[in-house]
Amino acid sequence: MSSASRRITPISGMMLFAVVFYAAGYILFPMYALVKESLMGIGQLSFEPYRQFFRSSLLEASINSISISLLSVLGSAAVGTFFAYVFTFFEFPAKSFFSKLVLVPLALPPLVGVISFLFLVGESGMLSRVLALLSGASPSLFTVNGWTGIVVVHVYSFYVYFYLFVSSGLSQLDGNALDASASLGATRARTILKILLPMLTPSLVGASLITFMSSMASFSAPFLFGGATRYLTLEIYAAKLNGESSSAAALSILLLTISVCALFFLRWWQAHKQYLLSSKGTIRVSAVPHGKLTRILVIFSAFALVSLFALPIITIVAISFVKEGSWTYQIFPTSFTGKNYLHLFEEPRLLEPLLNSICMALVATAGVVCLGVTASYLINRKHFPGRRLLEVILSLPFGIPGTVIAVGLILGFNRPSLFSFDSILIGTFWIMPLAYAVRNLPLLYRSTTAGFEAISPSVYEAAETLGSSQVRTFRKVIVPLLLPSIVSGALLVFINSAGEFVSSILLYSYSTKPISVEILSQLRLFDLGVAAMYSTLLMLMVLAVAAFSNRYSRATIAT
């Protein structure tokens, strides 16, 4: 592409202004508001909010957060890597079906996942009661809460990162390297330890960091499952509810620092530690031969685990059909009805949260698509000072916990400012779509940028030598080539926004209650059927979108 077409024109100048305005106003400004509140909250400069970190309760929260996150990484690594290994190296019946089942936790909005565990192994969980009945022991032996509860839910939600990273690492791995090791006389254990694991290190480190960041940012699991366990995200939430803005701000900055450090380390690692040797070897199932007994054992335990992982979903769907107030002391619900779903259409009060969420998610998605594609185009195809910095700022929210983003937005927009066009955003409809947009823009930015990177520069050059103008090239060449990446990114943004809970619970107002907060309210009212019904609807939405996205990408590849 010629250097002339990389120059900023008046049109792209206006686009750039919009992107910079967004980055400054909705990413940097809220962070500035956080810092300012934490230092100046009481009217004068004070480090008191930071000093309280060393108070025992907050110290405990920090230590809990970090330790639970590390345990979650270990647990997720064990489960996810095990699945990746089994699905790569073993052949067994119904493999493709099971390989889809393994991905199920991806389709669960975090809150729904936590609730399903509550129904299963919570205080009066079904699984706990069944196990108690079978063994004759007290049900409390089989319920999990506190530390174990949080870690179990985290492993369930996050092992997929390891599964995906390690699977893709294995698929890119040169199977001949394993054969070479075997032919040089190495035992299977040695080959796995000295060749396979080191070659997978990039995948393992990537997955570990993402799992760690997700665990640190986790809110639903400690909120609903933690019991009295102190957790950083919970402390921020509590401080905000108690009106202690400056300590909420200081805690947010602490959490933000940890997460952003992890994010930068991840970036650095990905840039520097990838092996350059990309021989396209394919791995053979026979690459690491296993004995018959190991095969049977391994496949059996994989079956068992996968089935166990499907249980939460089955539970939620089943409970969504439970008649209101009919399920109390029995182990299993006794009477089922479709009423929960019918009520949805009879009582506008019930339908409202669903419509609210869809509406706000659509607004957020539209905004993210406009800004994200523009930003990706400018950063990838134009030369201007501060390009890399802008990219870093735009991707930053990927590493920021939702709780912190929400507190930042509250502190930034609870009074009129330039970026809120001189009005107060808190309490209005707009604050939640804004939060969703800020949280999810990095997703779309990344998928679009990946699309840009896949387009060879010679494509632009070909268009230019054929006499196509820049605008025409953009419309007729770039957009069609990018469309699949944009659509898949946008669908992901929509799904995430529709089920968003973490920042919603801090930002919602009664008139714009989203579905996730409504689920929580119904849970508190012990209207389990309705809560499960909403959760099921969210899952169906995810499934529908995933199915569409699958078909769409297949259709576009075919053309």
């Binding site: 040169d174 001949n176 390297a177 054969d179 070479a180 090791s181 075997a182 032919s183 040089l184 006389g185 190495a186 035992t187 040695r190 000295k194 060749i195 080191p198 070659m199 290190t201 092996y275 350059l276 040797l277 021989s279 396209k280 070897g281 026979s286 031969p289």
Partner: protein
């Protein structure tokens, strides 16, 4: 140094027969090639010899002892893979030393042997370089060093030169030959490039569709092919039917199931009038010879004439008369 004996070896993958039962005998210190188009089963055969794949039937014997049930770890066989299969997280030294460490050799001995072999493949100055930073040719030589350093009983090559460019291929091919002579190791070499096989091998087995077509020295295969496949694959020979031979070239005595295999350099071209008339459809100058393609009875005939030969000069599109050297009597079986 070892012999390799394959008895009645076959392999089926599910429904697909990759190798029909075959016997093969490789002599001590021999450079033996398995040559055939892709999908002919040559890599499968190599993997069976190495133990990475087990045969559906038959026995693999190395030095007379049956190793069919032995895992690759215990066969003491060196392999050089098509994509080198180096360990990307290690340096040159670590890669080459890996097999010696597995044998729990003392460190000083490992260092001595690794440096010795790296000297032989001219990589001593790269000893501590991470392998991803090496060029393709260098990676190839590390792969050879890693396989040879453990002093395997036999050395297997799986299309080791196919990822290199033409000039490097010729150079590396000579290196491999030199190293094999120096070490004197029994070598089995898989390739689809007939030029490579002819240049390197003591003997060659030609494979097609999982069946051994012919085994012989390069000279035998080139001048005395048994069947049509070998003739056209090794020498790019032109194949003429019994009728065409009788009618146009005056060659008698072919049965219906036989063809006459005529090498491109055995076809004589002239501007005379004669029975066998064809039309030049392409002409390429390749330095030492001029390579003609001639439409003859709907068949595409290749004829190579020395470029020093001035008696004939035909242009694309012009008519030409074909005749054969009287000594050509190479009858081959119709597949």
């Amino acid at each position: 140094m070892a012999t390799v004996n394959l008895q009645n070896i076959s392999k089926t993958f599910g429904e697909v027969r990759a190798l029909s039962p075959l016997d093969l005998h490789v002599k001590e210190g021999e450079f033996f090639s398995l040559l055939g188009p892709s999908g002919c089963g040559k890599t499968t055969l190599l993997r069976i010899i190495s133990g990475l794949e087990s045969p559906s039937s038959g026995e693999v014997r190395i030095d007379g002892s049956n190793v069919t049930a032995l895992s690759p770890q215990r066969r003491n066989v060196g392999i050089v893979f098509q994509n080198y299969a180096l360990f990307p997280h290690m340096t040159v030294f670590q890669n080459v030393a890996y097999g010696l460490e597995v044998k729990k050799m003392p460190g000083s001995e490992i260092r001595r042997r690794v440096e010795d072999i790296l000297g032989k493949v001219h990589l001593l100055e790269k000893v501590n370089t991470p392998v991803p930073l090496l060029s393709g040719g260098e990676q190839q030589r590390v792969a050879v060093a890693r396989a040879v350093v453990v002093e395997p009983r036999i050395l297997l090559f799986d299309e080791p030169l196919s990822n290199l460019d033409h000039a490097l291929r010729i150079e590396t091919r000579a290196e491999i030959k030199r190293l094999q002579r120096e070490v004197g190791i029994t070598t089995i070499y898989v390739t689809h490039d007939q030029g490579e096989a002819l240049a390197l091998s003591d003997r060659i087995a030609i494979l097609s569709k999982g069946v051994v077509q012919q085994i012989g020295t390069p000279d035998e295969l080139y001048f005395h092919p048994h069947n049509a496949f070998t003739a056209s694959f090794i020498g790019h020979a032109n194949l003429f039917s019994a009728i065409a031979c009788r009618e146009y070239f005056g060659v008698q005595g072919l049965t219906e199931s036989e063809l006459l295999a005529v090498l491109p350099e055995e076809i004589i071209l002239s501007n005379n009038s004669g029975k066998a008339k064809g039309k030049i459809s392409n002409k390429e100058f390749s330095g030492s010879s001029v390579e003609y393609t001639i439409d003859f009875l709907g068949q595409s005939v290749k004829a190579h004439r020395p470029s020093s030969e001035k008696s004939f000069n035909g242009e694309i599109g012009s008519e030409v008369c074909l005749s054969l050297d009287a000594s050509v009597q190479r009858k081959v079986k119709y597949e």
